[in-house]
Symmetry: C2
């Protein structure tokens, strides 16, 4: 495989993930070429494909790394809170902040790169990521239901409903002003958290 | 103006609105031509422009007619309910049903015709439509606040937050199945309504 030792492969793979993380965030999927990515990792363009099937595939792997960080932040937010309402609010605020802050995650959630990216990912991987996402809040909902402090209903459906409030981020530009968007976003988070916590 | 009497102008204008309503819904803004619209109303293509500045403008007028019907349905839904939680739920369900059912309103809310359409509408008109939309639920929120049966906060912000839950419609395709979308959509509506009604 282009004569790389296992150690070299590991180093190059990490360098490609770093290059992807930086270049995709700065220039987007379209304007970043395989040549530039390979260059940044110090390999020939042709060697790129012994690491990733396509730049979309690299983009996906970069995203998965970021998603793990994001998921950890969201879980930590619930853990730090002291009940279902504040926990749900903290979880959703964190989720929204991540999408607002991270250009790569934002593109996946509502960018025009979404469709193209999904084509580079298998159905199984899409399903696994989704299950991973649902599994973040659903166990807390279930626990809170056992304690009788949140409404009843399928925990996964309720968890997805809470997370669906986050779609507001994708419609940020449709508000009259940034202030209005922020006020409405925060009010929506409050409504959803209070709604879940009203048994 | 092309020799039309006032009565003729009124009749032709109504015919153009009908034609737009049908053709835009069936073929979309792009694939419907001014020639087809004029044809359907029995006038020459050139005469179209003595009625509307552009097909985008006609599209907007058709939408405004439909929006008035939609607004009436949403208000009737709140009026028919017997409290803030069921009223908010009925309002939001109705709003979502309208977007799901009406291809023209759906295109405005999240289609690729949105941008193009907005360019044909003045800022004042966009603002007026938005104020009209906010004015639907906000007075009820204010009244409910006076009765102490909903949470406090700016009524317009709360009304917009409730309506923002409707963004989920624009993300229908991102759910695993139609059943999942419907379950999550309904749960989100329930959360928001219960959240507003928890003072």
């Amino acid at each position: 495989m282009a004569g790389f030792s296992d150690g070299e492969r590991e180093r190059i793979r990490a360098a490609l993930l770093d290059a992807g993380s930086e270049l995709f965030a700065r220039y987007g999927l379209d304007k970043t070429t395989v040549g530039e990515l390979a260059d940044a990792a110090g390999i020939a363009t042709g060697s790129f494909y012994t690491f990733f099937d396509s730049k979309e595939r690299l983009y996906y792997e970069v995203l998965m790394e970021r998603a793990e960080d994001a998921f950890a932040r969201m879980t930590a937010a619930v853990e730090a809170a002291d009940g279902p309402e504040s926990g749900t609010r903290a979880f959703l605020r964190e989720a929204i902040a991540i999408v607002e802050e991270d250009p790569l995650i934002r593109n996946l959630v509502y960018g025009n790169e979404r469709e193209r990216l999904l084509r580079a990912i298998s159905d199984e991987e899409i399903e696994a990521t989704k299950e991973r996402k649902v599994a973040l809040l659903a166990p807390y909902v279930e626990r809170w239901q056992d304690e009788g402090v949140v409404r009843s209903g399928d925990p996964e459906t309720l968890a997805l409903a809470v997370q669906s409030a986050g779609f507001v981020v994708a419609h940020r530009d449709e508000f009259g002003s940034e202030e209005e968007y922020e006020a409405v976003r925060d009010a929506l988070v409050d409504l959803v958290a209070a709604g879940l916590a009203s048994p």
